[in-house]
Symmetry: D2
Subunit: 467 residues, 4 copies
C-alpha cells in the first residue's frame, strides 16, 4: 500500500479527579499515530485553565516530560493526530502548518472549548462561504474552524453545548467524528452516515472516547461501545452520560470500508467488527475467489499481512516472509547515490533470498494505488529468485476519489482508472493478479448491521457530492 | 533593569520582484529581538500563496535555512517578535502558546491578509465582548485577533482595505501599531496617541515598515520617515504610497517615554529623536540634578550604559566598567548549588575587581522595578572593594502600571510604590540614590513636537483607562 | 528475547576512484544496526587524510548530510556499530563513552590506520597487563585498543601490514573479526575459531567486507565468499586480493550458533548457511521434538518469527499474529504512571484479541534469558482470551556465560541456571514449554563443514577460558 | 580583533567530601569559555570510577542537567575547554574531532588519571617520533597524548605521580600548563618559562586550580596564588599541598603578553597583574605615545574596550560607544544575500549613528591581524558620519608566528608582515594609526617580577624554536 493517508485520530478522557489526563492522552495518541503523522496536539483542562500543546511532528517528539509533568494533575484532556488532507478549502494558504494542528481551542461569549475533528466535510466550501458572507473570519484552512464557528452559533442560540453540537450535526455534511472538550464535560459525536469510527470506554470511573479501540487498550481502559452513526454522547466528570440520537430514516449508513482494508490498526474493533478478523476473512475470500497453487503466501508489510494469514489458512499454503523490514531506517536517512538501490533502501524492505528462491509466491497486499510500489516489490522478488509471483489484493480496484477524510481526491494517479486488471498485472510484473470483488468485500460484515461506504471502489457515495 | 518586557516588534517589506522578502524579514526581526523573545513569525507572499512560519523561541532558532530557501523568491513579507503580556484578555487559556504567535493569517470573503500588531488595546475586553455577543469566535487570547475581526467587518462594509483599517483605528483604544500584509500591498498604521513607534524606509525601490529604525539599518534600507500618530500608510508593490491621517484635535500625543529610557535599541531614531542621544542627555541631566564627587561612572549592562556615558561626559568623571558580562552564558545553564553564587552567575555579570577596588562609583541604571537586581549589583560592588556606590536612575520612580503593551499591570511589585527614595536607597544598599525628575525626563524632546506618555511615572495616561 | 546484546558490526569498502565510500558505509551500517545500537563510526580515506565521524547514538542520528557531503569523493571507508559489552577490561572507567566508539584511528612510526573490531578477547586482561608492564598507556577500555597496540608492535617488526595483522592473530585469543583500513588497502581478518562472521563482496570493482551479507545486499554489492576462520584477506584499491591462512590443525571451529538463533538478520547468509533457513529448520525440529495440538502458531516479534514459520509449516497449524508492534514508539516516550500498563507499553506490543480469543496458541521465541518478558507476553495472551499457551524455544536452555562478544557474562541472571524446564514453564505461566535440544540445534548445519560454539548452552567452549 | 584563538582553558577541584565537583567544573569552564569554544570536557571522580563527558561544542551545550545530576556526589573533577590549534603534529588526521576533546583519560599499570593541558609543545614532533620509534601508538593528534605517554613512562620508573610529572617538565619544551586528576589527588604544573597562566584557590577546604582567576571568582573560591613558572603543586583531598620547584637558572621567563592584550578575561589577575588594569595602562600609554585631538574614544567590542577606557581617562576625551552589539545573533544565522550587508551583520555590530555623526573618533583595538575587520569597522564609522577615525592599537604590530598555543603559525596572513604602519593605516582607511611600542607594552608589569614572551611582536622567543 502506498501513499494513501488517513486524516486524523481523536481522543478524549474526563475524570472527577486529577488522573494525569494529558499523560493518558499522549499514550493513546501514540497508539493512534497510524491515523496521522503530520501534527499532534493535546488540550488539558486543569481547573479553569486550558493547557495546550500542539505542533508538527510525531507524538513522541511533541509531548516531552516537561509537558507531561505540567499536566500531572489534569482531570480532562482531548487530543488529536493529523495528516493534512489534500483537499483543504483554504484560500492562499499552505497546509502543512503548525497553525493547522488540532485540537483547536475556542472561546466565545458563553464558554471555552477544545475541538478535535476527524473527517472532511463535503459542504465545507458552502459553509465557509456562508460564514464569510456574514463577516466570518478564518485563521486556518481547517474544516474544524468551520465546525467551531457553527458550534458557537448554536451555543449562542441554545445555551446548551449538547444541543449546539447536536444541531451542528444537521448542518455539516460528510465525515464528522468529533470530540469537544470543556472544563466539565466531554462531548463526542459522529455524523449520521458514520463514516469515521468513534468509540467509548471507561478507566476507573473516567470516561474515554477514541477513534479506535486500540487507544482504549493502550491505556488500560475497558471498551464500552461504539458511538452510533448520528449519535452524540456527552460525559461529565462523574461519569454520567447523556446521549442524543438523530433520526436516521433515509440516511445511508456509510462506514468507510477502507478502515478495515487499510487504515485501522488490526487490534481495533470498529462497529463490532475486529479489523484483524475482517482482514483474515478478506484473505480467505481472496483464495476462494481463485484458488492458486503456490509454495508460500506472503503479506506486504505491514498492511497486507493479516489478509495473507487468512489466505494461508484457507489455502493450506504455508505463510512465510519474503522481506525483512529494517526497523532502524529513520525518516531522514540519505542513501548513497545509486538510483537502482534507492528504491529498496527507501522502502525499508530487504528481500529474504533464502525464503524466496525457487518458490511460487502468493503476495497479498491491501490495495494498489499508483502501482509503482507493487512493481518494485515484485521485481525484488524475481531478482531474489522467485519462480512465480501471484499478486492478490484484499480490496477491489481503487478507482474513485474519496471525499471523506483521506488524501485521494483525484482519479489521475489511480492506476485502476487507466488500465484493466490484466494490464495492471503486466505493468506490475505479476504472473497473475486477483482483486477481491466488491460484493465479497461487503461480506466482511459477519452479519452485523453495518453499512459500508465503498465509494472509492464503485463511485457510489452515501451522500451527494457537490463539486 | 529587571523583568520589564516590551511586548512586540513588527516589520514588513514589499517589492515588485522577488527579493527574498522573508530573508530580509528574518534579519530585521533579529535586530528587533530585544522587543520580544518569546515567539517570532514571518508570513511571506509568493504569488497567491502565503508561506507562514511562526513558533515559540528566538529568531535564530525559528527561521532556519530551509524556510529561508523556500522563501527565496518572495516579494512581500511581514514579521513579528513577541513577548506575551501579562494582561491578556483571554478566558481560560495560558498565554505562552505557539498558537498566540504572530503574524496571524486571516482569510475572509473578500481577501486574505496577515496582521502584525504591537501594543495593547485598553478596550479589548469591551471589543471582545461585543464581537462575542454577535457570535464571534476566538481561538487565541491575542488582542490581535480582535483587530483582525474588526478589519474584516470593515472590509466587508467598505470593500477597501485602507478604509477598513482606517476605520478600525477609531474603534480601538490604546497602543496599536500594526502592519497588514496582503499579496499586493502593505498597510502600516499607528494609533492616534502614537504610543508605540513605527517608521518607514526604502530599499532599492522596496518599501519597508518597522517598529524601530535599527531594523531598516540592519537590512541596508534607507530611513524615510516615522509614521505619524493617527496615520495610515499603504504601499503597493510599485512603491506607490497612499496616506490617510486622522484628525488629532483633542488627542493627547502619548509616545511611550520608556522607549527612550529602556525599550528601544540605542541606534534607533524614534519620532526624530535618537534613542542614544536621549539616554546621553538623561545622563547629563542626572549629573546636573545632583553633582556628585566620584572616581568612576559605570552603567549597568546593557540598558544603563548610554546614560552613564552622558553622566561621565557632563561630570568629567572617567567612564569605566565595573562588570564583565559572560557572553557564553546560555539560557538554560545550571550553576552549582551554592545559593549566594547563583545570583551573580544568574545575572551573567562578574565584578571587575581591579576596576572597582577603592573607588567611589557612580552607578547608572535606567530604572528600578523590584529592587532586587540593584541590591545584588551594589552588594557585589562592595564585596569587590567599592568605597562608595552612588546609584543614579535615568528615569523617575516607576510607580504606576502600564496599559499600553508592557507586562507591568500591577503596582504590587513596584518598589517605588511602597517606599520613599530614601528607603529604596537603604534597601538597595546605595550611598545615595537620585532619580531623574519627571520634568527633566520630558526635556529629552530636544524641542521636537513630540508628546510623551509617562503614565508609569505619574499615573496620568493620555487616554482614559477603564478597569 | 530480552536484553541480550551482540557487541558489534563492522564494514569496509575500498575502490580505486571516488565512490562516496562513506555513504556506502553509512547505508551498510544501517543494515548492521541490529548488531549494536550504542555508538557508530565511519573513517573515510580521502587521499592522505582520514575523515572521522563517530558518536554515541544510532546510524541515522550520527551520519548527517553534512558528513556524507564532506565524504562524497572518498574511495575507501571503514565503519563500526557497537554495543558496549559488560565485560570491559578497563580500570576505573565507565564504558558507555563516546571515547569508546569505533573505528579507532591509530598513527605510529610507519603508518596510520583505522581499526574496526567485532568480538571480545579472552586474554585481554593478560595482553593489557603485558602492554602496561612495558609502559603502555590506555585511553579507553576497548579491547580494540589492545589490538591496535599489538598491530603497531608487529608493524614495527615486520614493516608489512598484512604480516603484522597475521601475527597478531596468534597473540589474541577469543572472538576477533576485524577490518583494518589504510589509505591504500583494507585488511580483513577472522580469528582461528571463526567465532564472529565476516564476509567479502564486490561492487563495480570495489572490494567490500562486512559482518553480515545483508550489508552487501543493502548497497547492491555481490556476495563473493565468507572470510574463513583463521584467514586474512587484504584488498588494494585495484581490487587485487592477498590471502593468508592460519594452520587450523587442532583448532576447534566455533562459529557462534546464537548468530543463527538470534543475533544475525534473517536475510544474511553466514558461512554458507541462510539465517532464515536455519531458523525455519529450528522451528520444524521444535515441532518434531514434541508435536502439539493447537489452533495457531505465533512468533514473538521479531526474533521468534522465522522459527515460528518453520513450526507452522511442519505442523500444518496456521501461522498467525498475536501482537501488533507499534512502530511509532520511540526510545524515550514516557507512559502514564499505571504500573501494569507500563509493561506492555514498554514492550511496544499490543495483543491482538480477535486473533487470540479462544485459541490454543503455540508461541515460538528464540530463547529465554531472565524469563520476565516471556511471563509478560504469556500473561497478555491469557488476558486476551488464549485458551492454551504452549511456549516453544528455538534453542536449548541458556545456562552459561558467553566470553566472545555478547553482554552475558554472569550466570546469575539466567533463569535456566536456577530452575528446571518444568519450573520455568510454571514461572512464565505456560501450559507447556519445550526447548530445542542441543543436538537438534547442531543439525541446522545442513551438512556444511561448520563447527559451532554452543558454549552458552553446554558450557563447553572451543578455547580455554582463563578467569 | 579578528580570528586569533587561544587554545585552551583548564580547571580542577578536589575535596574530601561530595561537593558536586563536576557542577563547579562546569560553572568554572563557562567562565573560561573565551579560551576555547570548540570542545569541552569534564572528568569527575566518584570513588573509584571516572565519569567522563566531553564533546565538540560550547560548555552550555555539553553539560546538561543529566550529567550534572549523575555527578552530584563527586568530590574531584578536572575540566578543559579547547580551541584546536592549527599546528597539530598529527599525520593524516583532521583535527576538529571529538576524539581530540580533553581531558583525556589514561590508565596504565599503576594508576588511572585524567590530563588537562593548555599549551603547545615545541618539541612535540621530536617527542612523538621518539615515542613512535619505541613502538608507541597514537590515537589522536593532541600534544596531550604525548604528555600522557611521558607521564606514564615516568610513573613506571618512579612510582610517584608528583615525581613523574615533575620529570616530564624537563622533557617537554614549550607551553605546558597542566592539571592531572586522580582519585585522590590533583597535580597542577606549569612550564619553566611560564607561558600560560595557572593559579590556585580554595573553596571551603576544597583546593581549586584554574587557568585564570575569573574561574575561581565564578564558583566563589578564594584566590590563593599563581602557580610559579617551573612549579608543580599537588593537592590531596584533605587540602594538603606538596610543591616542587624547578631551578630556573638560565631560563627566560616568558609569560605570554598577549594574555593581557587579548586572551584573558579582564576580571582575571595573572601572575599578580590585573588584566583590566594592564589594558587600562596600555590605553594610557597609547595616548601618551601620540596625544590626539578627538571628540570621543571608542573601544572595538569586546577586546578593545578596557584599553579605550584608559585612553579616555588619560586624554580627558569622553568615552563613548560607536557600535551596538546584537546579543541575539547566534552562530548559525544566515542573512539575506546582499554581500555588502553581510559584513556588518556577520560582525554583529551596528553603528550608533547618533553617537558617531560629525565626531572625530579615536578607535582603540587590541591588535590587527589581517586588517579586514578594522577596515570594515572604520568604513562603517565613516558611512555613519564620523569626521575622523584615529585607530589606536594597544599592542605592537603583530608580525611573527606563535609556537606556544595559539593558532597563528604562519606569517603569510599577518598584515604587519607585508606593510608598513603607514600602508596599513591607508589600507584600513584610518586617518591615523598608532601602535603601542614594544617597550611600552613591557611597561605594564607595574614593577612586578614578571618576564613576558612577546615573540609575536619581535620574533624573539624565550626558547629556541626548531622548525
Amino acid at each position: 500500500m502506498e501513499k494513501l493517508h488517513e486524516e486524523c485520530g481523536i481522543f478524549g478522557i474526563i475524570a472527577d479527579r486529577p488522573i494525569n489526563a494529558a499523560g493518558h492522552a499522549a499514550a493513546a495518541l501514540l497508539s493512534l499515530q497510524h491515523r496521522g503523522q503530520q501534527s499532534a496536539g493535546i488540550v488539558a483542562f486543569d481547573g479553569g485553565k486550558m493547557i495546550v500543546k500542539k505542533d508538527l511532528g510525531l507524538v513522541t517528539d511533541i509531548f516531552g516530560q516537561d509537558f507531561l509533568d505540567s499536566c500531572a494533575f489534569t482531570h480532562t484532556a482531548a487530543g488529536h493526530v493529523r495528516y493534512s488532507a489534500a483537499r483543504e478549502n483554504g484560500i492562499n494558504t499552505t497546509s502543512n502548518l503548525s497553525v493547522n494542528a488540532q485540537p483547536i481551542t475556542v472561546s466565545h461569549k458563553c464558554a471555552a472549548f477544545s475541538l478535535s475533528h476527524n473527517g472532511s466535510l463535503t459542504n465545507a466550501a458552502h459553509l465557509r462561504q456562508k460564514i464569510a458572507e456574514k463577516g466570518g473570519v478564518f485563521y486556518t484552512t481547517n474544516d474544524s474552524e468551520i465546525v467551531a464557528v457553527l458550534i458557537v452559533e448554536q451555543c449562542l442560540k441554545t445555551h446548551d453545548l449538547e444541543k449546539a453540537v447536536f444541531n451542528v450535526m444537521d448542518a455539516v455534511e460528510g465525515a464528522f467524528s468529533i470530540i469537544v472538550g470543556t472544563e466539565d464535560k466531554l462531548v463526542a459525536a459522529r455524523d449520521k452516515n458514520g463514516f469515521r469510527p468513534l468509540c467509548m470506554g471507561r478507566l476507573n470511573g473516567a470516561t474515554v472516547f477514541a477513534s479506535e479501540s486500540c487507544a482504549l487498550d493502550c491505556i488500560g481502559a475497558e471498551f464500552v461501545r461504539d458511538i452510533a452513526a448520528g449519535e452524540l454522547v456527552s460525559a461529565d466528570k462523574s461519569g454520567q452520560i447523556i446521549t442524543l440520537q438523530k433520526d436516521l430514516k433515509g440516511v445511508k449508513r456509510g462506514l468507510c470500508v477502507f478502515e478495515y482494508v487499510y487504515f485501522a490498526r488490526p487490534d481495533s474493533f470498529i462497529d463490532g467488527i475486529s479489523v484483524h478478523a475482517a482482514r483474515m476473512e478478506m484473505g480467505r475470500l481472496l483464495f476462494r475467489q481463485k484458488p492458486t497453487n503456490a509454495d508460500m503466501v506472503c503479506g506486504v508489510p505491514d498492511s497486507g499481512i493479516s489478509a495473507a494469514y487468512g489466505y494461508a489458512e484457507e489455502s493450506g499454503i504455508p505463510y512465510g516472509s519474503a522481506f525483512i523490514k529494517n526497523r532502524y531506517v529513520g525518516r531522514t536517512f540519505i542513501a548513497p547515490t545509486q538510483p537502482k538501490r534507492e528504491q529498496m533502501v527507501g522502502s525499508k524492505l530487504s528481500p529474504l533470498k533464502a525464503s524466496i528462491l525457487g518458490k511460487r509466491i502468493v503476495l497479498v497486499d491491501d490495495s494498489i494505488v499508483r502501482g509503482t510500489t507493487s512493481a518494485n516489490i515484485i521485481k525484488a522478488l524475481r531478482v531474489a529468485g522467485a519462480k512465480e509471483v501471484h499478486m492478490r489484493i484484499s480490496s477491489p480496484p481503487f478507482k474513485y476519489p474519496c471525499y471523506f477524510g483521506t488524501d485521494v481526491d483525484s482519479r489521475e494517479n489511480l492506476i485502476a482508472n487507466h488500465y484493466t486488471v490484466d494490464e495492471i498485472c503486466r505493468k506490475i510484473g505479476a504472473d497473475s493478479l486477483v482483486y477481491l470483488p466488491y460484493k465479497d468485500l461487503m461480506n466482511i460484515k459477519f452479519g452485523r448491521d453495518v453499512g459500508f461506504c465503498g465509494g472509492c471502489f464503485d463511485g457510489k457515495y452515501p451522500i451527494k457530492i457537490i463539486h
